[in-house]
Subunit: 209 residues, 2 copies
Amino acid sequence: RKVLEKNDVIANDIRLKLKAHKIFSFNLLSSPGSGKTSLVERTIAHLKDKIRIGVIEGDVQTDLDAQRIDLLGVPVAQIVTNGGCHLDAGLVRDALSKVDYANLEILIIENVGNLVCPAGFDLGEDTKVVLLSTTEGDDKPLKYPAMFRNASVLIINKIDLLPYVNCSVKKIKENALAINPDLKIFETSCTSDAGISGWCDWILAQANQ
Amino acid sequence: RKVLEKNDVIANDIRLKLKAHKIFSFNLLSSPGSGKTSLVERTIAHLKDKIRIGVIEGDVQTDLDAQRIDLLGVPVAQIVTNGGCHLDAGLVRDALSKVDYANLEILIIENVGNLVCPAGFDLGEDTKVVLLSTTEGDDKPLKYPAMFRNASVLIINKIDLLPYVNCSVKKIKENALAINPDLKIFETSCTSDAGISGWCDWILAQANQ
Ligand SMILES: Nc1nc2c(ncn2[C@@H]2O[C@H](COP(=O)(O)OP(=O)(O)OP(=O)(O)O)[C@@H](O)[C@H]2O)c(=O)[nH]1
Ligand SMILES: Nc1nc2c(ncn2[C@@H]2O[C@H](COP(=O)(O)OP(=O)(O)OP(=O)(O)O)[C@@H](O)[C@H]2O)c(=O)[nH]1
Ligand SMILES: [Mg+2]
Ligand SMILES: [Mg+2]
Ligand SMILES: [Zn+2]
Ligand SMILES: [Zn+2]
């Protein structure tokens, strides 16, 4: 379709620019409220003094997420889609023109909370990271497969809530690997900080390649 | 736009048919995993012997939700959108042709888990019911406003998890009523059954009008 072709041209242009500045970038995806911004906050807390991080926030309305990141003193730009259900490369290109990204080493793009539409849009990122919280249930990889198929990393978040929910991490992994056997899987809690350093080690390893 | 006009013609046709059979219907909406199917299960457990209920399930892939409802012995049809991010009236019309709905008194349509796109599509239902779980955070009504603006009922689910999450029910209500002051709000837990009978009383009152 024409829309995706035009999007991919812009995405490839973004990818070339980020590569030229040796920036590792990822597109963070999940349902609303799975903990994307919380994960970005924890990641910044762990890595801020080790590597230069920038963030692009994508939301349907408000700049609430960018305000949270701004408090941490890293460059952040907010995209407001005004009702659009996913980010596209054009929106990211415009946001990049407002951030001094040339000196960054990592660019995190937090997408709109939506487990369906954003899976199909290339933003010029190196990789897609899908976040699934234990409170959503363990059947999501089967019910919303495209997101898990197009990502290279799955983060199972809110593991601190496991004692209180009817969810099996083993089943999430089985279901996700049935959809995409190459998925790299982390287990985290943004409340207790469990698993965050393992996730940050992976980011550093990617950025230093 | 042409797409919505065509959709609304079909939706109005569905509405006439459901009205002719005196069926009260609602469109159940939320993020993935907020507890839509769990709420339908609890509702059926409470009302099955009082009123005739039918269900239409909408999902991107699988019939896992319909299988759960089928176990409860009420008529259910599964719509699989094959990647589509929302139900539309055409899909519901086709599903209705597969269910013997004429003798139903309540029709529950569970939409695809997505807090953005489904807000804009009329399915011929009497009302939209949006479900928000405490684990998603209290800022969602501000960040995903169309869903809350277009609904007449808000159900705050998973209140059993409040002791373990950073979420204020008071703030959810303030934020939701700021977007839509006419919202009727329920608080429920599908695990502890808290608040379910109040929600079911409301359904019975609507069905008997
Ligand atoms: N218990 C627990 N709560 C968490 C965890 N991570 C995030 N939360 C809570 O989950 C809610 C949503 O977190 P956010 O970080 O705003 O989620 P998000 O995915 O960025 O949400 P959107 O951008 O609106 O789609 C907040 O109340 C957080 O405090 C976790 O690991 N454990
Ligand atoms: N603790 C707790 N868990 C709940 C509650 N309601 C649902 N759950 C759990 O939340 C997860 C998702 O529930 P579902 O009913 O499948 O949610 P859904 O909205 O129908 O999900 P999709 O149809 O896939 O979008 C499951 O693990 C449920 O057991 C609740 O009130 N409290
Ligand atoms: Mg966020
Ligand atoms: Mg469901
Ligand atoms: Zn969409
Ligand atoms: Zn859509």
